[in-house]
């Protein structure tokens, strides 16, 4: 998987966005949309509608606030702070609603055609998706940012607004819970 942090977002693109260049926004959207959507999709238990809304909100915020990006942080860190805020805000508003992991459509997570045909792989992905979905929100968002965005611990600390020690602790605990849940799924099969 290509990690966002491996990509060079040129200052020319950011500068062009600042002055409202539509092509530059389209370029940024094309570079980041799948990662932002994936984080939202797995964060919200496979709900495609919410994931699409979150993705839209993130890019709207980006359009409206890119002039505030000063360039003293990496662009991806700044963008993922937006993603974290939008996801956690939406989660707070939806707290009363039950997670819909059990009802999520498998096609919401479909990868390329060859993966769809691989039953064992699809089953493994479904187990991991359910285990991730059951994680507490603060562990879930940390794990998704790390996995889909490949952010460093320093970048994650800035995106999540916490210390690197807290990032390390949330990832360690989150992975342990994930492994325990996966083991319990295996026990039931």
């Amino acid at each position: 998987m290509v990690r966002l942090s491996d990509r060079e977002i040129s200052t020319e693109i950011i500068d062009a966005c600042r002055v409202g260049d539509r092509d530059a926004f389209r370029t940024l959207y094309g570079l980041y949309k799948d990662q932002v959507y994936s984080v939202a999709l797995y964060f919200f238990h496979g709900d495609q509608g919410i994931a699409a809304d979150i993705t839209q909100q993130v890019f709207l915020k980006l359009i409206n606030s890119v002039t505030q990006f000063r360039g003293d942080a990496e662009f991806s860190t700044w963008l993922y702070r937006l993603v974290v805020n939008v996801c956690l805000d939406a989660a707070r508003h939806r707290k009363a609603q039950p997670p819909i992991a059990a009802n999520a459509k498998p096609e919401a997570f479909a990868g390329p055609a060859s993966q769809e045909q691989d039953f064992a792989r699809a089953q493994a992905a479904d187990s991991v998706r359910r285990a991730v979905s059951a994680l507490p929100a603060k562990f879930r968002i940390a794990i998704l940012l790390r996995y889909f965005e490949g952010l460093s611990y320093e970048q994650m600390a800035r995106a999540l607004g916490c210390s690197m020690g807290t990032v390390a602790s949330r990832l360690s605990r989150g992975h342990r819970i994930l492994a325990e849940r996966l083991k319990s799924f295996e026990g039931r099969q």
Binding site: M1, R22, F25, R26, Y29, K33, D34, Q35, V36, Y37, S38, L41, Y42, Q48, A51, A52, T55, Q56, F59, L60, I63, A108, F109, A110, G111, Q115, R121, A124, A125, S127, V128, R129, A131, V132, I143, R146, Y147, F148, S152, Y153, G165, A168, S169, L171, S172, R173, G174, H175, R176, I177, L178, A179, E180, L182
Partner: protein, 67 residues
Amino acid sequence: MFSRHVSDRLAAYIEEARDANLIEQHLAECERCRAEYVQVRAGIDALQHLPLAEAPASIGTRSSLHW
């Protein structure tokens, strides 16, 4: 000499080799942290099964994002 448990630092050790000497020393003498190391490793490895989802094209054509 037994050092403090390293449970919360295991992901950083596995992913970024942070505090490698200290953590390896501790793991050599602590069964509890070795068991937790196996769990954290399993959690990290499991994520490799999670595919990147493709954002629906409809998002980019919504009027509010129609640039």
